[in-house]
Symmetry: C2
Subunit: 320 residues, 2 copies
């Protein structure tokens, strides 16, 4: 099976990490087809324009389903004129996955600011993919590195808004979705779910905040009635140590940085973003377009390579 | 010179980690005098009751300035009856440091709940030490491990209260105090101070929160006028990676877990708590009383050993 890899912002590091990922995976797989500009990608690696996804000849060249750019991409200088091509690449990748022609979608980084200036109404990839697949509102982000899996219940909102938006229902839905994904996509028979506290020391019995008692404990109780192996609320600062990480398969976190700080501190370049709650398989590297180093040959492809490998693993687990 | 080491809660892991620290340091130093119950400590290591602090004979036994317990300490079962002894140990250690008889104070863990039930009005060690030394309100907590130094601007309050309490003035004071301490106590000539953002991605130009623009940027501007090498606001999730940590000497963080999650994720047992803004040198291990394992011989003394070494290093730097 072949994965569909989107172009991402063509002025970012997408083209060079795509080429580097192909070099790393060309003989071992997983194979992918790039939905990209063949000229731009061809500057970094051998490419072959194809009409349909397929793994044949992957060892010799990157198969490319061509997407025309409106204007030449200049590394480090994003151009909203190319927004339509960036979006078309994502849409086509999703269609390939929906039809079964691709086993999953892996997305290169996009710039929200660039797409927004071209009228793109979604906050990011994740929400756009949910809209394209008819599952808007059910998308859940999981970040995965070899040492840790985390799911933030609230994501791209201010910390103050995160506190206002957090509810027992959202915690329960994030934990249930993560639990189901660990079973189906990660082949973990009885996933252990750890729920973080929100406040220092998980509130110390209400001395430093009451969300643990008012929001989080009821979520844990509700999850227990659904036969989910769940623990918490854990003191946030000690739940990501090596010893603590052995006690769970996923940590449910309440705000962006509670999830992202430990993950990126442990593994800046190996982290993968997995979207749960979609009918299709979707992963991405967990870094951005890196316009500041685009074209300089310094970009690290590790996260994209890990994203391709994980998408393939999830697709295989789903096909069992 | 000799450090003054308090007893901490005698039902916690204090006695056993004190003995283990003495075993680790007895020939190399730094030497310390324990302000503790000699019978309790004597169950774990050889002790010698002394009338004054002094390093002589440290290799043979732990020098102990005796503090009588009101009742026998049972490991794992704290007793408020011993609160007066716990507090007396801290008060005497501070007096020794103030008089110059000790080079600094290192504190074993206490239980806030136990002391509170005995009428102790302070939220913890740090505030008590500030009150004892006439510097209440100026105490700043710094956490140090070999990989990272962090200063939380707000500490033991709920996350919601932390957002309400954060001000430009507090950020400036924390950064100034940390900068001065790095020069005087850590012998770093031109300390580089990194200020964290508060919101995901440091707010992305106001798209996800405005504290970066309203509170943090003005603090950075004010610090620059004081010739402090300051950078920020940094996106919180990527500022603790190995590459990012090379770019600063201390990270100023806005809430407890923003500082503590990366530190404990990197180094659960080597972290040291240093109180800045006091006239005396004070460090402590950055873990608690661990009543659940007290007396079981499982306690890890690494943080206490690191705290003793760091207090000695700070005292030597101040004496230069």
């Amino acid at each position: 099976m072949t994965l569909a890899l989107t172009m991402g912002d063509p002025s970012g590091i997408g083209p060079e990490i795509t080429a580097a990922a192909w070099h790393a995976l060309r003989t071992t797989g997983p194979a992918f087809v790039a939905l990209a500009d063949p000229v731009l990608l061809g500057a970094h690696a051998p490419v072959r324009v194809v009409a349909h996804p397929g793994a044949a000849g992957f060892a010799d060249a990157i198969p490319v389903l061509p997407i025309d750019l409106a204007t030449r991409a200049i590394p480090g200088t994003p151009n909203p004129a190319n927004a339509a091509a960036i979006i078309a690449s994502i849409e086509q990748a999703v269609r390939l996955a929906q039809s079964g022609a691709a086993s999953g979608v892996v997305t290169n980084p996009i710039s929200k600011a660039v797409l927004k200036s071209a009228g793109f109404p979604h906050p990011g990839h994740t929400e756009f993919l949910a809209a394209l697949t008819g599952t808007a509102g059910h998308e859940i982000m999981m970040l995965v590195c070899p040492e840790l899996r985390v799911v933030p219940v609230t994501i791209h909102v201010s910390l103050r808004d995160a506190l206002d938006l957090l509810t027992t229902e959202k915690i329960v839905e994030a934990a249930r979705t993560a639990h189901a994904a660990l079973r189906r996509d990660f082949a973990i028979e009885n996933p252990r779910v750890a729920i973080a506290g929100l406040n220092p020391h998980a509130g110390e019995q209400g001395h430093m905040g009451t969300e643990e008692q008012l929001l989080i404990a009821p979520a844990i109780a509700a999850l227990r009635t659904q036969n989910i192996d769940v623990t918490g609320p854990w003191p946030p600062d000690t739940m990501f140590t090596a010893a603590a990480r052995k006690k769970y398969d996923v940590a449910i976190c309440h705000y962006h940085d509670q999830a992202l700080i430990p993950l990126k501190t442990l593994d800046m370049w190996g982290g993968v973003n997995v979207t749960l709650g979609l009918p299709i398989v979707r992963t991405s590297p967990d870094h951005g377009t890196a316009f500041d180093i685009a074209g300089a040959g310094q970009a690290n492809p590790a996260s994209l390579i890990a994203a391709l490998r994980l998408a393939d693993e999830i697709a295989r687990n789903r096909a069992r």
